[in-house]
Symmetry: C2
Subunit: 715 residues, 2 copies
DNA sequence: TAATGGGTGCACT
DNA sequence: AAGTGCACCCATT
C-alpha cells in the first residue's frame, strides 16, 4: 500500500536511519535473535507496537552523501552550515587537520551567572558519562566497556555530544562526512542573529550563492515573523521525485533511526529503565522518521479517548517495535549548489549499505512504503516532497514525512533536540494515541501538500493544490489518514492536539497569558513594517526588526497581514501572499503551544520546542505556568526543566535524579515557589487527565504520554 | 655584617620575594599581627628559627623589570623564553590578545598510559584545588573565600599552576610582566631536545642574537655533558655590581620569597598540618633565596651530630621564621640584550614597592645585608655576582646566593620544582643541620667564587680567583663560612653531604649500581667525540650525542677530559679547559646523588632533583633502589613517588593520602614488589639514622630531615 | 575607558 | 584520535 505518493505516482518515504545491528533489551525481551554478521533485519514484537531500539554497532554512523569534491578543508564547514543552520545547529570546528575535520555544536553563550546556582550546577552530576561516540548500552560486551575511556574535559560548559566528522580518504582523495553523535544536550533553534551565522551569510554573498542566500533570507524572515522553520526534505533526484533543492537535506538532527512494523517481539532497549517505567519517559523526536504503524493496530480504533493511565502504560510496555538499520547514509544535495565546484556530485540521498537496503526494503514493503532501486546501486525510499514540482530552488514549506504513525510528535521537533536519540525513544504512547483519531476520508491529502514553491524563473511562487484551511482538530483525523497523507504543519498538529499544553493556540483559545505567543491567527500591524523594511533593504532581516516588537503584542497577525502587506519578501503576488497567510494560520493554530517570550534567545518562537518536554499533571502544569510567568530572571541556568541544566541527561532522568536526591521539586507542591520552576522559552509542559483544571483550551481528554512522574506527582 | 661582597666592596644579595603581607598560621601562632594597609614587615618568632610564611596579598605578584619596549606581543614570549628556558621552564601561551599575554608551562608530553593505572590516577583527587592565583590559605577572610571560584578545567593533564602574565598598559603603552603563580606541579629541567626549544633557538639565529645563542649553546653543552645547569643571577647594573649579563635573571623559578631573621614569633603556615607534623614534611626549594640565619643560632654549634629525631623534631616545631615581602619586582636584563630593540631599557633588578623596600631594607640590615638606593628610586639588594668582572656576556658558572643558611638545600634545586613554594617551606630542619658544620676559616670564600667568564671580545674565558679544588666535605664548613661565602656547586654540596642519598658519588664511593650516574670524577673517552662533533658542527649538541652513550659508562670522565680534549666549545685555551674540568669535578662530586638513567626525559642528569624527594628509612630506601633498578617500565605515570603522579600534591601529602587510603605502600614492606616503587630518574631517596645499612657511602650519621613517614615506617 | 579574568574556536602536534 | 597552543572574543568591574 502506498502511503506517500507524488503527483507522478511515485511513492516516497523519508529514510533516516542509522547503524546496522539490532540491539535488544534482554531484560524485556521474550525471544530475540541478533545476527550481526548477516546484518539481517530482525524484528520481534509482542504486541505489534513499534518502539525505537538502540542500535549497537558503534562503528557505523550516519553518513552524508554525496559530498562535494572539496578542494580545501575549509570548504566543508560552510557546506555543513548550509545543512545544519536550518536545523538550528550552529557548527564549530572542534579539531581539524589535513585529513579530517570534526565539528561540534557551538558553545552556548555564557549567560550571566546567577550567584546561587553554581554549586547547584555542580550537583547535576551525570551518572553516565557517555563518550562522544554513541555507544550501545545493553551490549553483551558491556563487560569490556566497563573500562570506559576517560572523558575529555574540554569545557565544563559545552558538553553537547553532537559530533560530525569529515575525513579525507587518502585512497580516493574524497571527503566523507559522518555524524558521529546525533544527540544534543541543549535546545537547537535557528538564530539568524548570531554572529557566526552572519559571518556564514556573508560568506554566501561573497561566493554569490544566490540560492542559499535566498533560502536563508527566507529562514530569517520566518524567524522574525515567528513562523516555523522546518528544513525541507531533500528527495532523491533519481528522476522519480521532484527536483532536488539546493542545500536542504534530510537530517537526523537528533534522533535518527527508523521504526518499522513487524511481527516479532519488541522490547525497549532504553537503559536504566525498570520494566515498569520503560514507556513512561516521553521522548520527542525532532526529526521526521520513517515510522510505520503496527499492523495489528492499523485500522483499529480505540473506543474511548479516556484510556486510563494504567491501560496505556500496560499497552506501552508490552508493545514495542524493533528495527535495525546498518550503515546509514543521508542524502545531501548541497554538494554542488553550495561549493560551486562539484555540480556533478551525486544527488543527495540517504544511503544505506546493501544489507540494510534489502532489510529496509522488506520493512518498507511491510509498511506500505514503496521503494525503488537507485542508479547508485542501492535501493532506498524517498522523502516525500510536498511540492511535487521541479523548481530547483523551491522553498518547501512545512511538510511531514511521517509514515504510519498518526502522532506528529514523530514529525515535528525539527527545532527541538533531545539528549536521547530515537534509538531510545519509546513510541508506545504515541502510537497508542494515534489510533484515537477519527477518519477524515482522505481529506488530509490536500492538507498535507501545501507548498509555496518559488520559481526563480518567474519570480513567483507556484501554488500547491491545497487551498482550504487546514482542519486542526485531531479528532477529525484518523490513523488511516495519517498513514496516507501528510500535514501542512503536521508535525505540530497532532502533538499539540493530543498533548495538553500550557498555553494553547487552538481556535477556541481562551485568553492567553502575557508573554506567551498564543495568537496564531493574527499578525500585528506593528510587525508589518518590519517586513517592508526587509524587502526594501534586502538586508538581514534581523536588522530591520523593531526593537519594541514583541510577540506579546502580536495579535490578529494573519488578518492584518492579509490587508495587502507584503508578508514575505519572497512573495510577489497577492495570491501567494494569501496562501502563505493561510499556511501560517494553520501552522500557528497548531504550534503556538510553547512558552514564548519576545526574545529569540533560546529558540525560534511559534514553534514547539520539545527539548524540555515532559508530561506533568495539569495542576502542576498550571503552577509551572504561573511560575514561568512570574519569573523575572529567565536565566537558562535557573531553569530546572531546561535540558541544559540537566547536563546532558534527559529531563525525566534528570528530574528523577532530583527526586531521588530529594530536591523536592515535585514532591512538595509548595516547592513551586522559588526559582526552581523558572520555565524557559519553549519549555513545554503537558498535563495528563486533568483537562478541566486548565484554563486554556487543552484537550486533556485525550490520552497523553504517561510517565511515572505522574505517579510521583499523584502520590 | 656583610655577607656577600664583591671585589669592589659592594655587598649584594639576591632578592627574590613576593607579596606584601604576612600570613600567619593561626593554629600555631602565639602572637601575630597583620597589617595589610601599611604593608609593614612583621616578624614574629618564638625560637628565632626562620620559616617561610605564606603571604597573603593576592593582588601583588612578582614583577619582572625592566621590560623591553615590545613592539609586538609576539616579542614577549621569546624574551621570556630566554629567561625561563635556563630555569628548565618551557613556556607556552595560554591566552593572548592585544593587551595581554598569559604564559604557562608547556604541557608534559603524554606518556604511554599504562593500563592498570588509569583509575589509580583518578583516585589522586586533590583535596585542595587551588586556583591559578596564589592564595593565602590561612586568611582571616577565608570565610569569604570559601565561595571559591570554579576551577577551570582546560586540561586534566596540564595542571601546573605556574603563570606569567604580560599586560600592556594602555596608559603608558608599556608592557608589564608579572608572575602570577610561581608554583609547579612537576619537574623542571632544561631540555634542549624539545621541539619548542629548537624552535626558540632557531628564532635566536634568525634574529642573530649571538649572545643568547652562545649561552644556550653552552647550556646545551652542559646538558649533554651532564653538567649542572644553574642559571646565573643577574645583578643590578647600577654600577655598583658587575656588568649585567644579557638574558639571565634572578628568577624565583618556583619558590619565590625571602626569609629574613627576626625576633618575632614565627610559626608555620603550612596548611593541613597538625602540630606534630608541621616539620615533618621536607620541602626543597629549587631556588636560591635570601635566607638569613636566626641570630640565636648564628654562632652556636651543636655539640653532637647524632641528634635524636625527637630532638630535631621538637626544635623544628618551635623554631620558625616569618617574613613578608610586598610587591616584589624581579630585575631582568634581557630587555635590550635579547629583543635587540630596547638597549636603553632599565637594567634588570628585583623591584619592590616602596613600602616593601623600606621593610626589606630593615630586614636586610638586620641580616647583615647591605642595601643601597637605586636610580630608579627604590633600594634593593644585589645578587652576588661571582664573576666580578664586566663582561656583558659572561657565562657564570654555578654560584650560590644563599645568605645566612648553611644548608644548600636552600640554594640548589634550580632544576627541581615543588608544588609548594617557599611560602610553605619549613626550614627548621635545614637550619638545624647547618649548625653542625665545622668552621673552615673563610677558605670557602674562594670556593664560592668559581666562575668561567667568557669574554666575547677576547673569545676567552677569564679566570676567577678560585684555583684550588673545592672541599666537598661539609664537615669542613661551618655556618660562618656559609654565611660569608658562596659555593661553586654549593647548592648540591651541602645537601648531598647531609642527606643520605640512594647512590652516592662521594669520593670514597663504593660500587655504584648500574644505570646510576655515580661517577663524578671521570669522563669516558667515548663521550669525548661528542664534544668534538659539537665543536665541529657548531650545531645542536643533542644531534651529536651518540645514541649509545649512556651515563652508565661514564667513568673517569674528568681525568680523560683533561687529556687535551675540548671539553666545551666555549673554552679555547687549555687553562680554561683545565679550570672547567676542576669545576666539573667539584660539581660532580657534589651532585651525583640522584637516580639517573641515560635518558634525559625527565630532567637533566648529574643534578639533584628534589622534586620527588622525601626521606625514608634506608632499609626502605634500599628496597626502593632495588625496585628502581629492576623496573623496566620507567613510565612516569607508574611512579608513585613522582610528583606528577600526585596531581599537584606534594609528595608527603600524597603518600599520606595513600597511606590513609591503605594503598599500603609503606605499611607493608612486601609491597615493594610491583610497580608501586618504580622510582624515576632523579627521584631522590633519603634515609635517616640508618647509615650502616646502606652499601653506598652515605653520611647517615648526619641529622637529616625528618618526617612522620619515618615513624610510619618504623611502626 | 582601562584593566582584569576567562571561555572557546580551531589548527597544530 | 585527541591534547593543547594560541588568539579571538566576551564579561565584569
Ligand atoms: Zn548540540
Ligand atoms: Zn610548571
Amino acid at each position: 500500500m502506498e502511503i506517500f505518493k507524488t503527483e507522478n505516482g511515485d511513492s516516497i518515504s523519508p529514510i533516516i536511519s542509522m547503524n546496522d545491528n539490532f540491539f535488544l533489551d534482554k531484560a524485556n525481551s521474550k525471544s530475540t535473535t541478533t545476527n550481526k554478521n548477516t546484518k539481517k533485519l530482525e524484528v520481534e514484537s509482542t504486541d505489534n507496537i513499534p518502539v525505537i531500539v538502540k542500535s549497537k554497532a558503534s562503528d557505523k554512523y550516519i553518513h552524508l552523501d554525496p559530498i562535494p569534491d572539496f578542494k580545501d578543508r575549509n570548504e566543508i564547514k560552510p557546506w555543513l552550515q548550509k545543512i545544519f543552520y536550518p536545523q538550528g545547529v550552529e557548527l564549530v570546528i572542534e579539531r581539524s587537520d589535513t585529513i579530517k575535520v570534526v565539528f561540534k555544536c557551538k558553545a552556548a553563550k555564557r549567560g550571566k551567572t546567577s550567584k546561587g546556582d553554581k554549586d547547584t550546577e555542580q550537583n547535576y552530576i551525570p551518572k553516565n558519562d557517555e563518550d562522544i561516540k554513541e555507544k550501545p548500552t545493553n551490549d553483551i560486551k558491556d563487560v569490556k566497556n566497563t573500562e570506559r575511556k576517560k572523558k575529555r574535559v574540554v569545557s565544563r560548559f559545552n558538553t553537547c555530544p553532537f559530533r560530525i566528522r569529515a575525513t579525507l580518504s587518502s585512497r580516493r582523495n574524497k571527503w566523507a562526512v559522518v555524524i558521529i553523535n546525533n544527540k544534543h544536550s541543549h535546545n537547537v533553534a535557528f538564530n539568524p542573529e548570531s554572529k557566526e551565522y552572519k559571518k556564514f551569510k556573508e560568506g554566501l554573498r561573497e561566493v554569490d550563492d544566490i540560492q542559499a542566500i535566498k533560502k536563508f533570507d527566507e529562514l530569517e524572515y520566518r524567524f522574525h515573523a515567528n513562523l516555523p522553520i522546518i528544513p525541507s526534505l531533500v528527495p532523491c533526484d533519481c528522476g522519480l521525485t521532484s527536483e532536488v533543492k539546493s542545500f536542504e537535506v534530510i537530517m537526523p538532527s537528533n534522533c535518527v533511526t527508523t521504526t518499522v512494523s513487524g511481527e516479532g517481539a519488541l522490547q525497549s532497549t532504553r537503559k536504566n529503565l525498570d520494566p515498569n517505567s520503560i514507556n513512561n519517559t516521553m521522548y520527542c523526536p525532532n526529526y521526521p522518521v520513517n515510522v510505520s504503524k503496527p499492523k495489528k493496530l492499523k485500522n483499529k480504533k480505540l473506543s474511548s479517548l479516556n484510556l486510563s493511565q494504567e491501560t496505556i502504560l500496560k499497552k506501552s510496555a508490552s508493545a514495542k517495535f524493533h528495527v535495525n538499520l546498518p550503515h546509514t547514509h543521508i542524502h545531501t544535495n548541497s554538494a554542488d549548489a553550495f561549493s560551486g565546484t562539484n555540480s556533478n556530485a551525486d544527488t543527495p540521498f540517504m544511503e544505506r549499505n546493501s544489507s540494510f537496503d534489502s532489510l529496509i526494503s522488506n520493512v518498507i514493503n511491510n509498511k506500505n512504503l514503496e521503494t525503488h532501486t537507485h542508479s547508485h546501486s542501492h535501493p532506498h525510499s524517498h522523502p516525500y516532497d510536498v511540492t511535487q514540482n521541479a523548481y530547483p530552488n523551491e522553498f518547501i514549506l512545512p511538510s511531514t514525512f511521517l509514515e504510519g504513525s498518526s502522532d506528529v510528535a514523530l514529525q515535528t521537533g525539527i527545532m527541538s533536540n533531545f539528549t536521547s536519540d530515537l534509538n531510545e525513544i519509546d513510541f508506545t504512547g504515541i502510537f497508542n494515541k494515534s489510533i484515537h483519531h477519527k477518519p477524515n476520508n482522505g481529506k488530509m491529502t490536500e492538507l498535507n501538500s501545501p507548498s509555496l514553491s518559488f520559481s526563480p524563473d518567474t519570480s513567483q511562487y507556484s501554488m500547491s493544490k491545497i487551498q482550504e484551511p487546514i482542519s486542526t482538530d485531531p479528532a477529525l483525523l484518523n490513523e488511516q489518514d495519517l498513514l496516507n497523507n501528510t500535514f501542512l504543519g503536521g508535525p505540530m498538529n497532532e502533538l499539540s492536539s493530543s498533548i495538553t499544553t500550557s498555553t494553547s493556540n487552538m481556535i477556541n483559545n481562551s485568553e492567553p497569558p502575557e508573554h506567551f505567543n498564543t495568537d496564531g491567527n493574527t499578525l500585528m500591524m506593528s510587525e508589518l513594517p518590519v517586513i517592508e523594511n526587509y524587502v526594501n533593504t534586502n538586508n538581514n532581516f534581523s536588522n530591520a526588526v523593531p526593537k519594541n516588537s514583541t510577540s506579546k503584542s502580536s495579535t490578529n497577525r494573519a488578518s492584518k497581514a492579509q490587508q495587502g502587506n507584503t508578508y514575505s519578501p519572497f512573495i510577489k503576488t497577492e495570491e501567494e501572499q494569501l496562501r502563505l497567510m493561510n499556511e501560517i494560520d494553520k501552522i500557528n493554530n497548531l504550534t503556538a503551544t510553547t512558552f514564548q517570550s519576545d526574545k529569540h534567545e533560546q529558540s525560534s518562537p511559534a514553534f514547539i520546542d520539545f527539548t524540555n518536554c515532559f508530561p506533568v499533571q495539569s495542576k502542576m502544569r498550571n503552577k509551572l505556568i504561573a511560575k514561568k510567568e512570574d519569573v523575572s530572571d529567565n536565566s537558562f541556568e535557573q531553569d530546572v526543566f531546561n535540558l541544559q541544566n540537566s547536563q546532558g541527561h534527559d529531563i525525566p532522568e534528570y528530574i528523577n535524579f532530583m527526586l531521588q536526591n530529594e530536591t523536592d521539586i515535585f514532591k512538595k507542591e509548595d516547592s513551586l515557589q522559588g526559582q526552581e520552576f523558572n520555565l524557559h522559552d519553549n519549555d513545554l509542559v503537558m498535563s495528563i487527565n486533568e483537562g478541566n483544571s486548565v484554563k486554556t483550551n487543552d484537550k486533556s481528554n485525550l490520552p497523553l504520554f504517561q510517565t511515572n512522574w505522574d505517579n510521583e506527582f499523584n502520590s
